[in-house]
Subunit: 176 residues, 2 copies
DNA sequence: GGCCTGATGTCAGTTACTGTCGTCAGGCTA
DNA sequence: TAGCCTGACGACAGTAACTGACATCAGGCC
């Protein structure tokens, strides 16, 4: 993972081959593919633990909480964890921004987070169109907040940005 | 395109090679890649015209319309156009559902629609966090509505489903 | 000391994609 | 009518991402 991120940063994602990554790590190409399903996945290895965090936070939201608040609690937990990662999440985001192929992968991962969130909401008794919609909304809020967090060097508090973005969403969707 | 969709439907996306598609169309592999950037893109060729439709609808929304209503007008226009496609959109959706690779591509295309929508909203004077959020919300609404449209054989009116999903979103995000 | 297991190397193969060059038909112009 | 130009296509060689099969080898366990 370290070798891959270094090389993606140095020469760019598309310009680095899997053989080069393996060589820098002191391994062979074949071994790389035993650890990562493909050349992209090496950047998304941490996603599963993030998903577990999110799901747990949704599940642990107070019983009385509105669905959207439970979902947002989930993405806030994920956001807090990301924030602990130091420079790495920002570096990762910058690399992803350079390649559509990587953006594709990021989008499916986020979509997976949305599915997990929706499933957890259903478990909490939220009926179906509402559960999906709430989950999608929460992930959209997360994405916008994360974008701002990555690009604003000043802004350090990702969970705070998430709450602010939720407020924006509420303002924006408020009926006439 | 016809050859590709047929083959993807018959043996599955991953099981069909570009050579086979080209052969069925009476062409060579090389010519396939002159028309489509890659094996996935053949399923998303109609996306650009859909995007133009959406952008135009957002631009033509009445001046007084709330941002969310302008954005929803855009996805409604797209939805109406999709509905005109007969069986093809549903077939396409069923094929995409069988392959993560294709879902990745679909997600970037939707993300592109969200970007275009946000850009158009900014042109209408909507400031920045609100514009992105509104666009993302509109696309989320579209996605949920489209999913229901694809899976409910009874449901024929996609724009109606979109409006219903927007109402759901409003209910779900309404503050306490 | 023998055996099993898990991680790795090696090698051959498939397929998506790209660059380059040659061909050829149709339309346009002198 | 002859020459020319252009755009679409075929042919061919090459790269790189993946995959399957088999061999090796170190460490732990009986």
């Amino acid at each position: 993972m370290k070798a891959a991120i270094e090389l993606y940063g140095e020469r760019g994602y598309e310009q680095t081959t899997v053989v080069e990554i393996a060589k820098r790590a002191g391994l062979t190409e074949r071994t790389f593919f035993r650890h990562f399903a493909d050349k992209r996945e090496v950047l998304f290895a941490g996603m599963t633990s993030l998903e577990e965090l999110l799901v747990a936070a949704v599940a642990n939201a107070p019983d009385g909480a509105a669905p959207i608040d439970a979902a947002i609690a989930g993405v806030e937990a994920a956001g807090a964890a990301i924030q602990e990662g130091g420079d790495l999440p920002r570096l990762r985001a910058r690399i992803i921004a350079t390649s559509v192929e990587l953006q594709e992968r990021e989008l499916v991962k986020l979509s997976l987070l949305a599915s997990s969130t929706a499933r957890e909401l259903r478990r909490r008794g939220v009926p179906d169109p509402a559960a999906s919609l709430t989950a999608e909304a929460a992930i959209a809020v997360f994405r916008v907040a994360f974008d701002r967090w990555v690009n604003d060097a000043d802004e350090h508090d990702l969970p705070h940005l998430i709450r602010a973005s939720l407020d924006e969403l509420r303002a924006v969707t408020a009926g006439h």
